[in-house]
């Protein structure tokens, strides 16, 4: 990684954007997974009560 004149690390933005993006995607995927799982649980409960 390149350093600026005063020893400051420069060019870290792609890593920063990747870290925030991965966090956002992981949380969004988990929310979507829980929504799908709840729909499935509701269907199973409904079919169980119909039996």
């Amino acid at each position: 990684m390149a350093e600026g004149p005063a020893g400051v690390i420069i060019g870290g933005w792609p890593y920063v954007i990747t870290a925030y993006s991965i966090t956002a995607v992981a949380l969004a995927l988990n929310i979507a997974r829980l929504a799908a799982r709840e729909r499935k649980a509701d269907r199973e409960k409904e079919s169980d009560s119909n039996d």
């Binding site: 690390i9 420069i10 870290g12 933005w13 990747t18 870290a19 988990n30 829980l34 709840e38």
Partner: protein
């Protein structure tokens, strides 16, 4: 109760957007690390709330073993899952930061190693749950395994004080500049609210799924009647 949890979750998402905006575009770059230090505004809250969720999981495990009530097992699953997600994110964010500041994606430093072990242990408890079909045994075994896995959590937090480590000491208002504290705190509350929401949501799903599960005796009786 469901609406309250969803409201907390939506507030958490809103706070995460605000905190990330402040961390990315308002807070100044750090003196030595420059802009890459901005990863801290998501990495540190992920670590704090990940460790807190692991502690929740341990408390729920003890509560289940103490009372035998299913509601604690439902919450245990929720806390375990969010602990594993935040633990995985913690490792990935740390690797990105390490690549820029230390020059390597990974090193067997004591903080990194104990964090990896914590992630694997809690993921292992979830794997154990998926192998056990009998509900009572599944809840008991996963509670015991969670308590055993939790032994690593204090190690993760205190290892940088107890051993020589590349990783910096735990952040606190005394060690962080005031302009960097605001996005850190906003994102910490955001992660906490999102974690509470996801734990409550997962617990509700587990409770519904348990309702759909039939005890073996009932199936046998029904089969006997049909026969």
């Amino acid at each position: 109760m469901r609406n309250v949890a969803t409201g907390i979750g939506l507030l958490g998402i809103l706070l995460l957007l605000v905190g990330s905006y402040v961390g990315l575009f308002v807070a100044p770059p750090e003196r030595h690390m420059g802009d890459v230090q901005r990863i801290m505004y998501v990495h540190v809250p992920t670590a704090w709330i990940g460790l807190l969720c692991s502690t929740f999981a341990m408390i729920f495990a003890v509560a289940y073993l103490w009372t035998g009530r299913n509601r604690w097992d439902d919450r245990l699953v929720g806390a375990l899952e969010i602990s594993v997600i935040l633990g995985g994110l913690l490792l990935v964010q740390g690797m990105l930061w390490g690549r820029v500041t230390w020059g390597v994606w990974w090193t067997w430093d004591v903080r990194l190693t104990t964090s990896l072990i914590m992630f694997l242990l809690f993921a292992g408890v979830l794997a154990l749950r998926s192998f056990v079909e009998e509900p009572l045994r599944r809840a008991t075994w996963s509670s015991v395994a969670t308590i055993i896995a939790y032994v690593d959590v204090p190690l993760v937090y205190f290892c940088v004080r107890w051993f020589r480590s590349l990783h910096q000491m735990p952040s606190s208002p005394e060690t962080v500049h005031s302009s960097m504290i605001i996005p850190l705190r906003i994102n910490a509350f955001a992660m906490l609210f999102i974690a509470i929401w996801l734990i409550a949501w997962r617990a509700r799903i587990e409770s519904k799924s348990r309702g759909a599960e039939r005890p073996p005796e009932r199936i046998e009786i029904k089969g006997a009647l049909n026969g």
